[in-house]
């Protein structure tokens, strides 16, 4: 086994997951304009529902996966309908939305813990689990699937979704919400699309994770945090930005794991984030000052 190509493979696998989760987070962040930590629970729920169907009531895998995605999507949009929409109509700031989403996360994560316990659950399927050797590195079929999904989504987002009317509408709302609504774009519909699509992606990410390494009630938060870092570093919110940032982050993470041990991976992720926030040239701080530039 070639160390270098294994590391490269790990980076690509890691990139795929960070990118998928990052984009799912970005869909909500760019339209609803707040850090939706509750999304972590949507990722986790997708995985656990799939687990429930496969392992507890023994449904076939395709249906279970579908159920996981559907429930995640329903939950994700449900959070918007029940919590965020009314807060938005009352003029809630992004800080209060963030706090509410944290509350939502805690409730849902603990419900999962109640029903399934805190130990790790893994979905294995002998076909998907077998590893293949590619250029001296070991990759499982599941991981290949993940990479494929990520690339597929990256391409379809850039060449398909962004070019459709819907994609343009999403970007319009993200750029300038007031102008978008004056132009006749229905905010409710956009939020529905954003939350629904985001939750579908999140659910998929969670399910893949459960098949690949396994899942605990708090794994969704770990996954989300990496995605959030990629989105923040990715800068202006475009898909490409997140893709590139995810590569950087995945590289840092793998390097850190290799040199310092797996346990420092989180610290490296956040150290990278802090370095970026502190060192970037334009400084988001000036936002409030811009209001005087009339």
């Amino acid at each position: 086994m070639n160390i270098l190509s294994q590391i490269l493979a790990n980076v690509i696998i890691s990139w795929s997951m960070i990118f998928l989760v990052g984009i799912s987070f970005l869909l909500i962040f760019s339209t609803a304009r707040f850090f939706h930590f509750g999304h972590a629970s949507v990722i986790t729920v997708g995985a656990y529902i799939c687990y429930y169907f496969i392992k507890i009531i023994h449904f076939p895998a395709p249906i279970s996966i579908l159920m996981g995605i559907v429930v995640a999507a329903v939950l994700g949009y449900g959070l918007e309908l029940i919590i965020f929409k009314r807060m938005r109509l009352n003029g809630a700031s992004s800080l209060t939305l963030l706090l509410a989403s944290i509350g939502g996360y805690i409730v849902i994560q603990n419900i999962i813990s109640l029903f399934f316990g805190d130990q790790i659950v893994v979905l294995n399927d002998s076909i998907l689990f077998s590893s293949i050797s590619i250029v001296g590195s070991k990759i499982t079929a599941m991981q290949l699937l993940l990479i494929g999904l990520a690339i597929l989504f990256l391409l379809s987002k850039i060449y398909l979704i962004d070019k459709t009317k819907l994609g343009l509408a999403l970007r319009a709302v993200s750029d300038n919400p007031e102008l978008a609504s004056i132009s006749g774009i229905d905010e409710d519909k956009i939020m529905f699309v954003a939350f629904f699509l985001s939750s579908i992606l999140g659910g998929i990410a969670g399910i893949v994770r459960a098949f690949d390494i396994g899942m605990t009630p708090t794994t969704g938060l770990d996954m989300l945090l990496s995605g959030v870092v990629a989105v923040v570093i990715g800068g202006n919110g475009a898909t490409i930005g997140v893709a590139v940032a995810s590569i950087l982050l995945a590289s840092f993470q793998q390097f850190a794991s290799w040199q310092f041990g797996e346990m420092w991976k989180d610290s490296i992720t956040f150290a990278v984030l802090l370095a970026y926030l502190l060192l970037r040239p334009q400084g988001i701080y000036i936002k409030s000052i811009r209001k005087t530039e009339v």
Binding site: A100, I106, V107, V232, L277, S288
Partner: protein, 290 residues
């Protein structure tokens, strides 16, 4: 009776934590998820010193509070460059990094295995001999911290904090050097959290990193919000209520296996409910702007 003393001690500890967080988040408007990191740093510094050097309580206390205050500046300074939501994320980052250090730097902190600090505090040669005496000690400390906080928020300094939380441009136009205010309030707030950590380490007599996670930070900010941001008394009320909830659960017979989860669900549910329907909390006067 021991049980009552235990509850009161925990209420005092969380009052210190929530009052100090209220200074930074409620009065200065800087939501911080790093508070439990300072709580942990204070606890660990005092525990490590007691364990490794057998140094007396007062030395440990002063060292822990001083170092926490210094770390507080480390978080306060970035608040000058990073705004609102991104600042919250930055504090989460700081919190998780500190947790990882406490958990992974085994040679310093003993990692997940924790540190035992078996003795009771000895102050000026007098050794505390019961939990009741400890209660008096922490009650006094808590009162002092409350008094200091009260002085700060009622002063012109506190008034400037309230201006900063709502409109920094106004504060600048009034000639206030915002940077100094932000850094100083972080220094004070984190020092106080460190003090709570010291007391916690002596009381529980065994500490490990799991007491100082990001969930703990979220718990403390929940107390502040439910009690009311911008009113010190609210933080005390919030601490009393949220510390009592698990005791009530135990009282009505919820089995201990699911008690932790039920407790968290209640906390999370209360957080969401208050944010939606009563964002000012029970006694507060401030809703978080962006």
């Amino acid at each position: 009776m021991e049980y009552l003393i235990h509850i009161l001690i925990m209420i005092f500890i969380y009052s210190i934590l929530s009052v100090s967080l209220n200074l930074v988040s409620g009065y200065a408007g800087l939501i911080s998820m790093a508070h439990s990191a300072f709580y942990g740093i204070g606890a660990y510094i005092s525990a490590i010193m007691a364990f490794k050097y057998q140094s007396p309580f007062l030395i440990n206390f002063v060292s822990a509070v001083s170092l926490c205050s210094l770390f507080g500046a480390l978080v306060g300074i970035p608040s000058l460059r990073i705004r609102d939501d991104y600042f919250v994320i930055a504090t989460v980052a700081f919190q998780i990094i500190i947790f990882n250090i406490l958990n992974n730097w085994v040679s310093l902190t003993n990692g997940p295995m924790g540190i035992s600090v078996i003795q009771m505090p000895i102050i000026f040669g007098v050794k505390l001999s019961s939990h009741l005496e400890f209660l008096i000690l922490i009650g006094t400390l808590s009162a002092c911290i409350y008094w200091i906080s009260y002085r700060v928020v009622c002063s012109p300094f506190g008034r400037v904090l309230k201006a900063i939380r709502e409109d920094e441009v106004f504060a600048l136009a009034a000639g206030k050097n915002i940077a100094i205010f932000k850094v100083l309030i972080f220094v004070i707030s984190s020092g106080m959290a460190g003090a709570a950590g010291v007391m916690y380490s002596y009381y529980i007599s065994f500490i490990d990193p799991t007491s100082f996670t990001v969930m703990e930070s979220i718990f403390i900010i929940t107390i502040v919000i439910i009690g009311g941001a911008g009113k010190l008394f609210g933080s005390v009320a919030g601490a009393i209520i949220l510390v009592l909830i698990p005791e009530i659960l135990r009282f009505i017979g919820i089995p201990s296996t699911i008690e932790a989860n039920i407790r968290q669900i209640i906390y999370g549910g209360m957080l969401v409910a208050f944010i939606i329907w009563r964002p000012k909390g029970l006694f507060g006067d401030y809703i978080f702007y962006s």
